[in-house]
Symmetry: C2
Subunit: 159 residues, 2 copies
C-alpha cells in the first residue's frame, strides 16, 4: 500500500477536499519501478525484456546509468515488421534520444505529468534525478499510474 501522505485519516472521511487531494498528488507516491536497458542491447533482446518485465516503455542508459533514450512498444513494433535481423540492430539506432525526451521529477504533481503525457502524446515518462553529470532514472510514470490515481482519489473519499 502506498503511503497516504498529505492528510491525516480521521475515522471515516479524509480531512481534505477532493480538490485538495487532487492538487496534492505527487509523482513520488504513484510512480512505478523503471526498467532500463544498455545502448548496445539488440532490438530483439529489448523486445524480450519488455515482455518479461511486462512494461510498455524501456529507458536506455549509458555506462554511467544516465538516461540517453526511450523505447516505446510502438518504436519496437515499427522496427520489428519487415526486419529479420532484429538481433543485429542495437537499440540506440531506433530510440528517441535526449534532448527529445520528456521527463518528470519526484516532486512534480500528477496533474503536471498528466498534461505532459497528453501534450506529447506519449504513454510514459521517466522520473529522473539530476545528479549534476546527467539524469539518473529513478522511476516511471505512465497513464496506468494516472488511472490508478484517479481510482484512489475516489476510493480515498469514498465516492
Amino acid at each position: 500500500a502506498r503511503p497516504r501522505v498529505g492528510y491525516f485519516y480521521s475515522g471515516k472521511k479524509p480531512v481534505q477536499s477532493v480538490a485538495d487531494s487532487m492538487i496534492g498528488m505527487k509523482v513520488r507516491d504513484f510512480q512505478s519501478i523503471p526498467v532500463v536497458v544498455a545502448e548496445h542491447v539488440s532490438v530483439y533482446d529489448a523486445i524480450c525484456h519488455m515482455f518479461l518485465e511486462d512494461v510498455g516503455t524501456l529507458f536506455v542508459v549509458d555506462e554511467s546509468l544516465h538516461l540517453t533514450g526511450v523505447l516505446s512498444r510502438k518504436d519496437l513494433l515499427r522496427t520489428s515488421i519487415g526486419n529479420t535481423d532484429l538481433d543485429k540492430i542495437p537499440v540506440h539506432v531506433i530510440m528517441t534520444r535526449m534532448p527529445n525526451i520528456t521527463y518528470c521529477e519526484k516532486q512534480d504533481t500528477l496533474l503536471q505529468v498528466a498534461k505532459k503525457l497528453m501534450n506529447k502524446q506519449i504513454d510514459s515518462l521517466p522520473v529522473v534525478h539530476d545528479s549534476g553529470n546527467g539524469l539518473e532514472v529513478v522511476g516511471r510514470m505512465t497513464k496506468t499510474n494516472i488511472t490508478a490515481a484517479f481510482i484512489s482519489l475516489a476510493d480515498d473519499h469514498e465516492l
Copy 2:
C-alpha cells in the same frame, strides 16, 4: 470541445463539487472513435492499420460488424518477432476472443471503466451497444481517455 453535461456554468466556478463531477463522468462524454478490422485481415495489414490510425488497440468484427475480438499492440508485437510471414496469418488466429473481452457501455461511469482497465491489466475497452444479435462497437475507452478526464476535472474546477 466535449459537451459539459451535469452542471450549468455560472460565471467563474462550476456549481458541482469536484466529487460530484467525478462521480458524474460518463463514457459517452470521453470516449474515442473505435478502429475496427475484419477477422480475415492479415497481422501485417493490422499492424499497418494500427500505425495509420495511431491507436494502441484494434477491435475485430464479423460480417455483421459485431465484436468478435481485440488486438493490442502487445499481441501484434508478440506475433511479429520471429514470424516472417505476417501477411499470411489472419488476425482471428492471434486475437483475444469473446467471451474473454472486457467491454463497457456509453452510460457507464469513468470510475467503472478505470477499475476494469486496472483489474484486467489492459489498455483499452470497446464501448458496445447490445443490438440483441451481438455487440456493436460504438466507441473506445483507454487510459488516455482517463488521463484526459483527470485533467478536465482539474480544469473544470480551476485547480
